[in-house]
Amino acid sequence: MTTTAPVVSTPEAGPPLLSVRDLSKVYVQRHGLKTTRLHVLSGVSFDVKKGEVVALVGESGCGKSTTARLIARLATPTHGEIRLDGADVLAERRASRRFRSRVQMIFQDPFGSLNSIHTVGYHLERPLRRLGGVSKEDLPARVAGLLETVGLTPGASWAAKHPHQLSGGQRQRVAIARALAASPDLILADEPTSMLDVSLRVGILNLLEELRDKRGIAYLYITHDLASARYLADRVLVMYAGHVVEAGPAEAVLSQPSHPYTRLLLEAVPDPRRPPGSIAAPLAAKSGAPQLTAAATACPFADRCPEVVDACRKELPALKPVSSDRLVRCHLRVIQS
């Protein structure tokens, strides 16, 4: 196996459930004769173990959702390898039924992901029958059981409702139940709480954690919310401009961030413990969208970085270990350590 970047994984042995190597995606846009290439994702490698929660964090456009979409085979990678239990997922032209039952997705918008003309029950029956192999007679009991698993009790009465009768948090629970219907090993959760009220977020995160503990489900948790990543994830990968810039145990990365971008993200997170008005203090780095139009020949964060040095503009730093379980893509960190 050829890998260009060190793999982000936990030190313990055991075959990874999901293994992603050098995953890249280039979108080609044509405006008449002019063609631009958008390097949306560049050489991302990581593993997810059974029952593990790996968070991908970063701002919009960093490639975190693209990573999930490529793994779910909603888009085709330009380059790279995706393996599920060691088997090459991309070898098949389309996602097999077996693959779709093992890898499920939860989307950000619970108002868009449920079909308003169908009942809650219908949404769960289809994956139960097609992917779970449940017989017609067993359907009502299984549907009710799933709804009760996600906290919608009694399940039978929730199954008869239509999406418009549900709140955002309840809809997201239905979306989670639908993902569970296929008995997946891996759930790709793309910002599952960002459209919910703050008070409901913890409930959904707790539900995801409970499902992990009871069923051994692994998650790729995609979010821009560092607080929720710290709450839920075992490991975290910080992404910027399609590159992983920092990776390691969630607690360590978020309590002692190394990469300047991770520091910026943490500094920007609102914190009610800070004194009122402290928000007026300017951030160390500016906001701004990275250039994705050329394959990176410099550090993509250089233009915004408060610690930038000459080397940053000359060469893309490699993702290198700075301790036994931490990787950082930064010229400065490597020089220092």
């Binding site: 701002e59 919009s60 955002g168 009220d197 703050v198 008070s199 409901l200 977020r201 913890v202 821009h224 919310d225 560092l226 607080a227 929720s228 990543a229 710290r230 709450y231 978020l254 910026l264 993200l265 943490l266 500094e267 920007a268 997170v269 609102p270 914190d271 009610p272 413990r273 800070r274 004194p275 009122p276 008005g277 402290s278 928000i279 007026a280 203090a281 300017p282 951030l283 780095a285 500016k286 906001s287 969208a289």
Partner: protein, 262 residues
């Protein structure tokens, strides 16, 4: 009697959705005051009535929603007793509004400069030339390069569009600005930048803000005083530090327990 510190006084405000079967009360007996030069935060979950209160203060509610009780005094003058002509004179000049999803509040077929200049032309009776010159100053206020004057909204990022709308709300230097979830759709870094800018503008220009949000962390970091809404009722309000360190109502305590820390 008007020589008080209170710029906005909301007293026993009641807003109902009226129907043939009777009213359903969405804002129930809400009272709070906003002092001159302070940022007052109003937090609550969706459906708690926070946006409705903002719209009620500005008299922007449409049937079947109606104000059925209470008083709203802006600088001592009763908003609820104003006729349409007086309301037109007061809105924007004395109190302005940054709407929810302000990113989409701009007119897509006019340039940013035209939209800013329109406000100044109509309300300040400036000539087109003077209005455009003043528009440059407004963009400068929110740190947007003057070359962006000729840009259309779709050419700007979400955060820039948001800042244009904030500049627009400040165009007539109103003493009170109502902001309804002004940064909800933005990335954390952009959100933080814009809120920092609001806080800095507020302290130099001295206007007051009613800041409506569902995000408690944000509210506590930005506001001098805060209120918590639940089901149309203001269950608690007070000085930010006190509410944060010693919440009295069980609902506030529950909300604070659900805050995650990065």
């Amino acid at each position: 009697m008007t020589a008080s510190d209170d710029l906005l006084v909301v007293e026993n405000l009641r807003i109902e959705y009226l129907s043939a079967r009777g009213g359903s009360c969405v804002v129930d007996d809400v009272s709070f005051r906003i002092k001159r030069g302070e940022i007052f935060g109003l937090a609550g979950e969706s459906g708690s009535g926070k946006t409705t209160i903002g719209q009620g203060i500005l008299r922007l509610l449409r049937p079947p929603a109606a104000i059925t009780g209470g008083r709203v005094l802006l600088d001592g003058e009763d908003m609820l007793a104003m006729d349409e002509a007086r309301l037109r004179a007061v809105r924007w000049r004395k109190v302005s509004w940054v709407p929810q999803s302000a990113m989409n509040a701009l007119n897509p077929v006019l340039t940013v400069g035209e939209q800013l200049a329109d406000v100044l032309e109509v309300h300040e009776r400036l000539t087109r030339k003077a209005a455009l010159a003043a528009a440059v100053g407004l963009l400068d206020l929110v740190n947007i390069d003057k070359r962006r004057l000729d840009a259309y909204p779709h050419e700007l990022s979400g955060g820039m569009r948001q800042r244009v709308v904030i500049a627009m709300a400040l165009a007539l230097k109103p003493p009170l600005v109502l902001m309804d979830e002004p940064t909800t759709a933005l990335d954390v870094v952009v959100q933080r930048e814009i809120l920092g800018q609001i806080a800095r503008l507020q302290s130099t220009l001295g206007f007051s803000v009613l800041f409506i949000t569902h995000d408690l962390s944000l509210m506590f970091e930005l506001c001098n005083r805060v209120g918590v809404l639940k089901g149309g009722k203001l269950v608690e309000h007070g000085v930010t530090r006190e509410v944060f360190t010693n919440p009295q109502h069980s609902y506030t305590q529950e909300l604070l327990r659900s805050v995650l820390y990065a």
